[in-house]
Amino acid sequence: MYNRHHSHRKTLFGKDILILPFVFCAVIYIICALVIIPSSSSWLSLASIFFSDHKKDFSAEYTNIFVPVEDESAPAAPSIKQESSTEQRKQQTVNLSGLTFPSYEDQFGELTIEDCQIKAKLFFGDSRLVLSNGVGIYSGSAIPGYGRTILVAGHNNTYFNGLKYARKGQIIRIRTNYGNYQYEITDLQIKDKNDRSAYELSAESESLVLYTCYPFDDPGLTPDRYFVYAKPVSGPVIDKTR
């Protein structure tokens, strides 16, 4: 009697009753995998587009990395107009490796045109967030001192409204977290927004191009853009070799 009782107790929760549910679960997923595998690569590539490695930040705040640099060597504005040689600029350099490069939508400087009563925060990028808070450098162009075209956008009814007072010879000041720059306005033009001849991003020499919608103070959006061209006067050159 004891033996029979003991034998039943041992098999009440036998291996099958405990293991089989897990085996079934595994087999179900093996079947599912076999069904999915033929199209798995397309699903995986789709998933890699849909998901990133870190959570997206939706805050409407921007990062400010702008810490003004005291530049004792920079001469006052009137004398700059007279001396704007490249030789003089080469004396001041900033190492690329030591530069805190701005991320997209970071404020890293300040743009001022005293004659036009313009003083705006300078961002890297030209998104809606940027243009609501200041003016922004198109991310496909260069930053000051890099030796390429710098394309800066701003709204004509807010931060770049003063561009309507821009004249040749006026000075544009840009202060960044790595140096202070001055540019002299050389030309003013009105062009269509799709006109590719308005600027050349692949140019080997540095130039500053500010642009905004045109005409000023008119309700609605326009296909015309007001371009302000300027050449560098002073400011450190970024040494790309170091």
Binding site: T11, G14, P21, F24, C25, I28, L221, T222
Partner: protein, 301 residues
């Protein structure tokens, strides 16, 4: 298997020939019942997936409930307002113009119309006619208030502004891939309904086979338990892995409102999986208790 082990050595000696015959049968039967139990597990798993899809992906009310729970409409309103303020900056209007206009526009109705069009399998292009009309009215009112006269060029600029604002509106109202799936939703739902009925019928048939072809009550309950608990683990794995991986929170979506909708939508979907797993778990526990009860009763005899 347990029946074999319950046979005492005395019985084995007395009815050796009969037992040998019984053992030959008992090797096939457990395998057959295990297979039936597996089929039951597979069918219940697929049935659970279909039921979850029916209650979530193919349910308009689930989408609306999710939107309400996260206050999607307010988020869309805020984002549209923020985008419109930026556009108004470029367009030369006062900032308040954008705020007042978006405030007056019925976002909730527009979102619900868009969702309804999707679930009815209709056109999921965002209807911009009301938005355009109300925006044009608001601009005319603004121009009158500010005593601005519109010449030919200004009219063109305003038309351009309205087009840009409408593009923003469409972008804000649209849900990614909705237009791609809209044509399939009605058709797929019919197939899903048929599949659900078929799977439910299969589950009943498999359970009936296991129940009625087995002379021992505790064995009936054991195989049914194995099948149901197999389905329970399979259903439980989906939400557990998805939630543990944390991938849902890492989705790449342009706006905060869509991100919240996506995360809440999938969390809701996983809740349904947990609910199904819960039902299967309760069923498993009942079958297990019945198995123990009948096993002990058989033991008593």
């Amino acid at each position: 298997m347990s029946e074999q082990s319950s046979v005492t050595p005395v019985m084995q000696t007395e009815v050796h020939g009969h037992l040998h015959h019984h053992r030959k049968h008992s090797k096939i039967k457990p395998v057959l019942y295990a297979f039936l139990a597996f089929m039951l597990a597979l069918v219940l798993f697929l049935l659970s997936v279909c039921a979850v899809l029916y209650c979530t992906v193919f349910s308009k009310s689930f989408m609306i409930r999710t939107m309400r729970s996260i206050d999607y409409y307010s988020m869309v309103r805020e984002e549209l307002e923020s985008q419109m303020v930026s556009l108004v900056d470029a367009g030369g209007f006062d900032k308040d113009f954008a705020k007042e206009f978006v405030e007056s526009y019925d976002i909730k109705r527009a979102v619900n119309d868009y969702i309804a069009a999707f679930y009815s399998g209709g056109n999921t292009l965002v209807d911009t006619s009301t938005f355009k009309r109300q925006l044009n009215d608001a601009i005319n009112s603004y121009m009158n208030q500010h005593r601005l006269t519109a010449n030919k060029h200004t009219k063109e600029h305003i038309a351009y502004f309205v087009d840009e604002a409408t593009e923003i509106y469409v972008e804000q109202m649209s849900i990614p891939f909705f237009s791609a799936f809209a044509n399939y939703i009605t058709h797929t739902k019919t197939i899903l309904n048929m599949l659900t009925v078929f799977l439910a019928a299969s589950a009943v048939v498999l359970s009936a086979i296991i129940f009625f072809t087995n002379p021992f009550k505790h064995r009936r309950c054991r195989y049914l338990f194995i099948g149901v608990s197999g389905a329970f683990w399979a259903v439980l794995v989906i939400p557990v892995i998805a939630l543990l991986s944390g991938k849902i929170g890492l989705v790449n979506i342009a706006t905060h409102s869509l991100y919240q909708l996506f995360v809440s939508y999938f969390n809701g979907l996983f809740c349904y999986f947990f609910l199904c797993a819960g039902v299967l778990f309760v069923l498993s526990v009942i079958l297990l208790l019945l198995y123990i009860k009948y096993y002990r009763r058989a033991l008593g005899r």
